[in-house]
Subunit: 125 residues, 2 copies
């Protein structure tokens, strides 16, 4: 049962790995942006990019692996659709840090600075 918890944990961590990795490339973010306006077949999706079709195909596979894109095959045409669920997971991760910037520009920044000063001092030998 501890193993269950561990597996669960690493699953979420792995999902975060995959999603953030998927998002760290400009081309892939543009693909997502394009898909946010509706499903498109791959050739059409790839057209605006300067790189080769196989290159775009690889990027799509990265997005699929992260669960961000779902593919529907219809004859020889592959249609891609956006799936935002993994973005939600990423958003939840980010949300933890939201408090730091919502508070950061006024009271907190001063507080943190004195705090870290105290920490630094106590760490010096």
């Amino acid at each position: 049962m501890l193993s269950t918890r561990t597996t669960q944990t690493t699953f979420r961590e792995e999902q975060l790995d995959l999603v953030f990795k998927a998002l760290c490339d400009k081309t892939r973010r543009e693909l997502l942006s394009r898909l946010s306006q509706g499903s498109v077949m791959i050739t059409e999706l790839a057209a605006p990019f300067e790189m080769s079709l196989p290159a775009v195909s690889k990027h799509l596979r990265v997005l699929e692996k992260a669960g961000l894109v779902e593919r529907t095959v219809n004859g020889r045409v592959h249609s891609c659709a956006l799936n935002v669920a993994p973005l939600k997971t990423a958003g939840e991760w980010l949300q933890y840090y939201e408090k730091f910037w919502s508070e950061s520009l006024n009271a907190l920044s001063a507080y943190v600075q004195t705090e870290s000063q105290l920490n630094n001092n106590s760490q010096q030998e």
Copy 2:
């Protein structure tokens, strides 16, 4: 002048590249989590990890490059502090997609239905 706009744009894209790249590794996310509770010196920061100190040092450099960590050198002690500003940029990027999941299971489906009813009155099969 157009080049200014272009540069500006790619700057944001590059920042997103760096931030998402920084976040796509479990170790680095853990480092951030640790730093969210206050500044720490590097040895102390690295202690809980099983990898070598140089490995952690490299991860920290990735975080610094993304602007997520700021270093203060004090004698031989380097203190690291969290800087959430780049996370805010990432959050803003994500926010565009928020509507897709916040509306998807309830309001949106209704909205889309009425929308499509309006749009497709003449297009129904």
